[in-house]
């Protein structure tokens, strides 16, 4: 369960988040929508410990991460998988190596890497292309690699910040289908997007943000803006 209680955040004199109250239950699929500058990405950054809240409280389960220490951040990030619009893959590593890298740098054993990496590559449907480099596959396949990398720690939460922003409609739908499949396994998925078609197709919970505030929270929502 993710809880944000009265969270505010400002940079200099610009208030980015204003008194956000949000509760996301385990296993939910939540879309957070809003126009640019609404505060969506700041909220994502707070959830992964990249930014600190100004006021308020943030908790992941029983873990209060409001004042999380630098030492604890790596442990938080192993519990929350994150994917971004620009994929963030290493161009000189194969798709499989990009996925393994996440386990290598967090101290995973070789045995674990050998066991986990092929299985996540299979989940995202890239077992046949695992030896290719990012520039040899499509944008959709690159994003699927990023999802596989996010899954290697078997996170309870998957944060997708504009994952379809760089993709055409077909690839975008494939990624959303993959996220839905991952959600079916019990992983909480938080999708940050401003893609109206996707949000409307999903027919899941939609939290709408505007100027740093939540203006709507619908259980089976549509894109309002």
């Amino acid at each position: 369960m993710i809880t944000l209680h009265n969270v505010s955040k400002s940079y200099n004199k610009n208030q980015i988040l204003r008194g956000i109250n949000l509760r996301i239950e385990p296993g939910e699929f939540v879309s957070i929508v809003g126009q640019s500058g609404a505060g969506k990405t700041t909220m994502v950054k707070i959830l992964i410990g990249e930014e600190r809240v100004g006021t308020g409280q943030v908790a992941i389960g029983d873990w209060d991460i409001t004042r999380i220490s630098k030492k604890e951040i790596p442990y938080l990030r192993r519990q929350i998988g994150v994917i971004f619009q620009d994929f963030k893959l290493l161009p000189k590593k194969t798709l499989e190596e990009n996925v393994s890298f996440a386990l290598e740098v967090s101290g995973g054993t070789s045995a674990k890497i050998k066991k986990v990496v092929p299985s996540v590559m299979k989940i995202v449907g890239l077992e046949d292309k695992r030896r290719r480099y990012p520039n040899e596959v499509s944008g959709g396949e690159q994003q699927r690699t990023a999802i596989a990398r996010a899954l290697v720690h078997q996170p309870k939460i998957l944060l997708a910040d504009e994952p379809t922003g760089n993709l055409d409609a077909i690839n975008a739908n494939e990624i959303i289908d993959l996220l839905l499949r991952i959600n079916k396994f019990g992983t909480t998925v938080i999708l940050v997007t401003h893609n109206k078609d996707i949000v409307n197709r999903l027919n899941r919970r939609v939290v709408t943000m505007e100027q740093g505030q939540i203006i709507s929270d619908q259980a089976h929502g549509k894109y309002l803006l």
């Binding site: 990030r77 192993r78 740098v105 967090s106 054993t109």
Partner: protein, 302 residues
């Protein structure tokens, strides 16, 4: 253990990918280390020169052959009582003769002349060792004022001026050397800091991803610490491999210059190998690790 090998692997990848930066960093470290060792060599040579010149300082009072033992011992005690005197050695007629024979054992002409003479022509003497060689002139003045009927002659072959010049040059060389070392240490710090900064810049994407996927801070900064260690190790190994042949080349010239004295730089550096190069390695390692820590903290936000 696997993490350790991965850190080593990442570090060597860094070094190989930034090969020119590695070369520049090691070159600066080499210049600093060479300066330190050249200064140390100069120090050893000057110390030997000081010893050689000190041995040339001869402050002796020659005693009349007919002086009694009690008179000689009284004079010896009087001189030894001075606060400028470290010790007074009494050399009897017989000791002087034996020392003379030993000194000229290879010079048959001198020994033949001595035999021809048929008696011991040498006088007993008191050899005075000053407490402070730079103050030997004051001691000589004091000895000149001693009025004793048993003193036959006084020999003050004073090299204190040369000695004080050597001391002064040594002091100046040390001062300039320390200044140069300070500059090289500062330069090394900046160069290593910059090298790590550039390495971080070229790996910023990798570091960003590492942080994103939950790599521990230890895993992010350790490859740079290992690189710092490798820079220090390579530098010190190159210095050792170049400096010893250099000393071997220098040694014959030193032996020719300090004829009759045991001046062996090579032996000095071999005997003190661990102290000299161990401490230099530790200092360079400390500089590298500090510079890397600052760079990683600032640019990798660890």
């Amino acid at each position: 253990m696997q993490s350790f090998f991965r850190i080593i692997k990442f570090s060597f990848q860094d070094i190989a990918r930034n090969v020119w930066l590695t070369i520049a960093t090691i070159t600066i470290l080499l210049i600093a280390l060479f300066s330190i060792n050249i200064l140390l060599t100069a120090r050893v040579i000057s110390d030997n020169a000081v010893v050689a010149v000190r041995e040339k300082i001869n402050i002796s009072l020659y005693i009349k052959p007919d002086a009694s033992d009690s008179e000689i011992m009284a004079l010896k005690s009087q001189i030894a009582g001075s606060d400028k005197v470290k010790s007074v050695v009494y050399i009897s007629k017989q000791d002087a003769l034996e020392s003379f024979r030993d000194k000229y054992k290879n010079d048959q002409a001198v020994l033949a002349a001595l035999k021809e003479l048929g008696r011991n022509p040498l006088s007993p003497s008191l050899t005075i060792v000053p407490k402070d060689f730079s103050q030997s002139e004051n001691l000589i003045n004091e000895l000149r004022t001693i009025d004793s009927p048993i003193i036959e002659s006084r020999d003050f072959s004073d090299n204190s001026v040369i000695l004080s010049k050597i001391n002064s040059i040594t002091k100046r060389v040390n001062e300039v050397g320390m200044f140069l070392i300070a500059i090289f240490i500062l330069t090394s710090l900046l160069v290593v800091y910059n090298a790590i900064r550039v390495a971080i810049y070229t790996h910023r994407q990798e570091i960003e991803i590492m942080r994103l996927v939950g790599a521990s801070n230890f895993f992010i900064y350790m490859p740079y610490m290992v690189s710092a260690f490798v820079y220090a190790l390579i530098s010190i190994l190159i210095v050792i491999s170049v400096f010893y042949p250099f000393l071997s080349l220098l040694q014959p010239y030193l032996e020719a210059f300090f004829t009759g004295y045991n001046v062996n730089l090579l032996t000095y550096f071999v005997d003190n190998f661990s102290l000299i190069f161990g401490s230099q390695f530790l200092i360079v390692l400390l500089i590298n690790v500090l510079a890397s820590l600052f760079a990683v903290r600032k640019y990798a936000k660890v």
